[in-house]
């Protein structure tokens, strides 16, 4: 049982930390305040090969593994939850399914630009009437000669207004339920496809979360991902991988909050001494870090399983469930330990607390994770 990180990962961690400190942390407050997409950070990440870490070189990736990719999600999320989800949605939800289910032509045409940092990706499953009940897809895809015609809409889509490539789920045969859902690769410039309003959110405010609108969109037959009717299965498997990313995002947010709090309690003096000397502070911090480290083990075990061809759906669900709930608790405690100052925007912990909440909801709510975990057990 080897718990060590590899030589490459040691050097990568140094890279990730330097990059986060200089590029991500410096604009995190502004990204949240202005609700703006961190385009300059994404462009730099694209330049340095950070958008396709786990994909082979022949597809434009860095030739690395999932663990190395997850490490990056964790590191950037320590400074900025928004940046973490931008990366995770792109790599785990858009690039990954093309890698895992695409034809060689599709990989060359779509995966290479995504992995090599030339294009940004997004994933469209959720609809106004299909959230946790994802099977209730109302977006329709009708085959018409050499193309499908898509009609319908998606909501809450991360990266929507900046993405070039979208993995979209649509119903090709309503009569067979989930087995009638298919997955498609949609390009932003396809006629009839448009991006709708941007959501104003509690947290990850820099993330471009928008509607996708399909109005008789012509999608070439070659853009069907996998076989007709396999879309739901593809979506579920994709979300399994995405959960590891979100778990890493939640873990990063939690760890970032702890690190800020440790710094603060050493500086803040009340009753003649720094509040780090009070046992209550010490005990709270001990609990916070223990939970973060527990989450870390779950996250990296899930990544390890994926890298080694082992099943990981169950592990990913546990990691996502535990890390997100821990992040919510830890960030709330971080604000508490900062006292009144923690409630103001002068300190980053209130943003971390707002960012943490969504990790309990998207890519499968905590309730869904519990369903997955117990189904595995029973």
């Amino acid at each position: 049982m080897n718990f060590n990180i590899t030589k490459e990962q040691i050097l990568l961690q140094q890279l990730y930390r330097e990059f986060t400190e200089r590029e991500v942390k410096t604009i995190a407050a502004e990204v949240d305040e202005e609700e703006r997409f961190p385009i300059e950070t994404v462009e730099k990440m694209q330049k340095y090969g950070m958008m396709g870490i786990q994909f082979p070189k022949k597809y434009g990736g860095a030739g690395g593994d999932n663990a190395s990719y997850i490490m990056l999600v964790e590191e950037v999320s320590k400074a900025c939850g928004t940046t973490g989800v931008v990366l995770s949605a792109h790599a785990s939800l858009c690039a990954a399914p093309i890698y895992e289910f695409g034809t060689e032509e599709q990989k060359q045409k779509y995966l290479v630009p995504l992995a090599s940092g030339k294009k940004l990706g997004a994933f469209g499953l959720t609809e106004p009437n299909a959230g946790t009940d994802a099977a209730g897809q109302q977006t329709k895809a009708v085959l018409n000669g050499d193309h499908y015609i898509l009609n319908g809409s998606k909501i809450f889509i991360t990266n929507a207004s900046y993405a070039d490539t979208f993995i979209v789920m649509a119903m090709t045969d309503k009569s067979v339920g989930t087995k009638g859902i298919s997955a498609f690769i949609v390009e932003k410039d396809f006629e009839g496809f448009s991006i709708g309003k941007k959501e104003l959110k509690l947290g990850i405010r820099g993330s471009a979360t928008c509607e996708l609108i399909f109005d008789n969109v012509k999608v070439p037959k070659e853009n069907l991902l996998g076989k007709e009717g396999k879309g739901f299965s593809i979506a579920m498997k994709t979300l399994d991988g995405g959960r590891i990313g979100i778990a890493a995002q939640a873990l990063g947010i939690a760890q970032g909050a702890i690190d800020e709090t440790v710094k603060y309690v050493k500086e803040r003096k009340q009753f003649g001494k720094s509040i780090s000397k009070f046992q209550n502070t010490q005990f709270m911090l001990a609990d916070m870090q223990t939970n973060a480290d527990a989450a870390r083990l779950l996250v990296y075990k899930a990544a390890f399983n994926k890298d080694n061809g082992l099943p990981y759906s169950y592990e990913a669900a546990m990691a996502k469930l535990f890390a997100s709930e821990a992040a919510m608790k830890i960030t709330t405690q971080a604000v508490q330990l900062h006292g009144g100052y923690g409630y103001t925007r002068e300190y980053p912990v209130e943003r971390m607390m707002r960012d943490a909440k969504i990790t309990e909801i998207y890519e499968g709510t905590s309730e869904v994770q519990r369903m997955v975990i117990s189904a595995h057990m029973l």
Partner: protein
């Protein structure tokens, strides 16, 4: 090399645009002290063309002056200067050779030390002759200034050292001294011009970022109004630093956001941070508590900044800052005499 054959404390006299640089004159002062302890003489080595006031070298401590006065030595170039000084070392065999730790000195001295195979100690802040052993002790900062090291060069001659400007003190001027100027003639050939100077540009350095400054004079609400920041500017000018501020002064529009120090501003770690009229709220401390030396001036003796400051003065900054500027000017005068 036989150590006994070497004698004399030599100082390389740096000149720019025919003007002798201050650091060299400071070194003559130190050289005089060292020469006294060794019972040897001070020789100034000047390389240039038609340099002004060469006799000053004698007035400030040189017993001898060696002068290479040639047109092709007008502007500093590594190889010609190294060639000249190598001749000097081979002919005159100095015990010690001092250089200013300047952009020229730190280029010339190592090249020269490499050519004559001797030891060179950089950026010395103190130089002395050990009373017991007669060793030449060169003390200098290392590790980013976190430690001091005393270096010796036991078996090689000359013992070379570069010294920072402003560290050594000039001697008292003595215009009665008898000055001997000896001319050095070294043939500079085409192959000695190992590079070509296309352009010489003189310009002052551009405006600095507060995160790069070595000295920051920082103002807070206590400064009172934007005009008073002018006083901080004057003080900054006197100390070679720039002005920064706390959030309070930025929020009311007295200072721009780029110079804000603190949790929502920038984190700085200058050698010297003077906090004027800053209370020291925790958000501000987060941005400057790593400064090497913190001075705080505030009317309120209970201001939390005093808990972090190395030196705290309770008083009116509007009176203290002008007085401090005066005092600094006086101190500079004393040094330059």
């Amino acid at each position: 090399m036989k150590k006994e054959d070497y004698s004399g404390v030599f100082v390389f006299i740096e000149q720019k645009d025919q003007k002798i640089q201050n650091v060299s004159v400071e070194l003559l002062g130190k050289a005089q002290e060292l020469a006294k302890d060794l019972g040897q003489e001070v020789t100034a080595v000047l390389v240039g063309h038609d340099v002004e006031h060469v006799e000053r070298l004698g007035h400030y401590g040189a017993d001898n002056i060696l002068y290479a006065n040639q047109k092709d030595l007008d502007v500093y170039m590594t190889e010609p200067y190294t060639k000249v000084l190598t001749e000097v070392i081979n002919n005159k065999k100095p015990e010690i050779f001092l250089f200013g730790a300047t952009a020229i000195g730190r280029d010339l001295a190592p090249r020269l030390a490499g050519r004559v195979f001797t030891g060179l100690t950089a950026d010395c802040t103190s130089l002395e002759i050990s009373a017991e052993t007669k060793d030449f002790l060169m003390t200098r900062p290392a590790f980013g200034g976190n430690i001091m090291a005393t270096i010796i060069c036991p078996d090689h001659r000359p013992q070379m050292a570069t010294v920072r400007p402003g560290v050594m003190k000039k001697s008292e001027i003595d215009t009665t001294k008898d000055i001997k100027i000896e001319s050095i003639d070294v043939q500079i050939n085409q192959e000695d011009m190992t590079y070509e100077i296309l352009e010489v540009v003189n310009e002052k350095t551009e405006k600095m970022d507060i995160q790069e400054a070595h000295v920051l004079i920082s103002g807070g609400r206590g400064v009172g109004n934007p005009e008073n920041f002018g006083k901080l500017d004057d003080l900054a000018h006197e100390l070679g630093g720039i002005v920064s501020s706390s959030r309070a002064a930025v929020d009311v529009g007295w200072m721009p956001k780029e110079v804000q120090v603190g949790q929502t501003g920038k984190t700085v770690r200058p050698n010297l941070y003077i906090a004027c009229g800053i209370s020291g709220a925790i958000q501000h401390l987060a941005g400057m508590e790593e400064s090497d030396f913190i001075v705080a001036i505030n009317k309120d003796e209970t201001a939390p900044i005093f808990e972090t400051a190395d030196l705290g003065v309770v008083g009116d900054l509007n009176k203290i800052i002008p007085a401090l500027i005066e005092e600094l000017k006086v101190a500079k005068e004393v040094k330059n005499q």
